[in-house]
Assembly symmetry: C2
């Protein structure tokens, strides 16, 4: 996803259809875990879109979800599905060959790296998006890895995939800290890290990420898989043979 | 979805990559509701695909889910999202005008009509797909409406949408009972019902439904929304301005 660039996105939203999107982001959620589960399901199934904050009545639910074990279990299940797909359906053209064109795409924020520690301070997404606050967090380069994704990443690299990381983070201000953060958290051996530069500012994540993927396909790569915590990581052109949605009920990136 | 035609689909699967798909449909599911919740989430987020049966350990979970209230709540949430979208983002070109080209697409099985009574006898999807059994059920024309979708349907028709029903059910054998079933359950005023005829046999639901949608777009229709219980209802060409996934953890249609 592209948190750092989401300021631009939300600016676009503000200029555009703010009123309608605000309305559509306000469903009636009772203060019950079953209602919040329905809301979370709607988020993960891409039914609920363009929401600005977690419904206030779901604060405790989302906090418990992210830190109490179920997020972990849901993530494990996705990784299990990814592993089954790689094992049984992917046929690498040139296993472990440096010239192979078998590609895999990973998003960075809340896919490779976890921002749960940051979002805990933002009431797990009940507070509205704070671009300055997030930038201050990201520039520290202190996001821990999502361990299951790091394990997946290493398996992918070892298996011979060329792993590309695509993030909406601003390259001008966050390249150094992001590269450092990925390195210290054990992400070594990826092929390229794509960050949003000035030519992509103001574009939605779907448009930006589609452009990068089209570029890769133009270079001859076959994108076997694409993993992200936002549907905007997985929609658009050249999305990949399979896409996998990592859970994230804390924020929405258009 | 297209249950009746799924026999063809599964035949294709058998001829094709049966082994790999069988493997990928067998994740490790502990006998706990939290694990089954993770599996259900993976289904709804389109991470788990090509599964042939509900994991045996999730029989009680899926049964409780479908009949104990949570399915209902999840469905209500999707309809809430649809209503918000229609109210705030759709701009009908020619409200209530018979010549308008504002289209909406609904799937039939487990979208307009519920087969929960049938699947209860099939251990809520723990038994493998039974084409003969399903046909015997469908030919009776006794599926009750999904009440929330019927209410949505009526609102759509009243608002001026041209509602098209697209089902993978076989038109040769099930046209009469399906039309009757829809009528007795209060689905009156739809524009057209598309069923799978001989020229679409052997095609996946994605291919068949894409063809129909392309045809509609070719006629000048704008597809504002598309609602189905299977991702194969919502994937492919001309999917619609927005798609909405109705929950269904009982079966998978490729």
């Amino acid at each position: 996803m592209g948190i750092a660039a989401a300021a631009w996105m939300w600016l676009m939203v503000a200029v555009g259809s703010l009123a309608s999107r605000l309305c559509s982001s306000s469903p009636t959620i009772n203060n019950s875990s079953s209602s919040c589960l329905s809301w979370r399901l709607a988020v993960e199934a891409n039914n609920a879109r363009a929401w600005r904050t977690v419904p206030p009545t779901c604060h405790d639910y989302v906090g418990s979800y992210m830190t109490g074990g179920q997020y972990q279990r849901d993530l494990d299940m996705v990784v299990q599905q990814i592993t089954a797909y790689i094992t049984t359906e992917v046929q690498l053209s040139n296993n472990n060959n440096s010239a192979s064109l078998d590609a895999w795409i990973l998003d960075v924020d809340d896919t490779c790296l976890s921002n749960v520690l940051y979002y805990r301070r933002k009431r797990f997404g009940c507070d509205p998006y704070d671009p300055t606050g997030f930038k201050s967090w990201a520039v520290k380069g202190a996001s821990p890895a999502v361990p299951e994704i790091r394990t997946l990443f290493r398996k992918l690299v070892t298996a011979g995939f060329k792993v590309f990381l695509i993030t909406g983070r601003d390259g001008d201000s966050l390249a150094h800290s992001t590269i450092q953060n990925l390195h210290t958290q054990g992400y070594s051996g990826y092929q390229r890290l794509f960050m949003r530069n000035s030519s992509y500012k103001g574009q939605s994540a779907v448009a930006f990420k589609s452009e990068i993927r089209k570029q890769l396909v133009g270079e001859g790569y076959k994108i076997w898989g694409n993993v992200g915590d936002q549907w905007s990581d997985l929609a658009g052109d050249c999305a990949g043979e399979r896409t996998f949605k990592i859970p994230n009920p804390m924020y929405f990136v258009p």
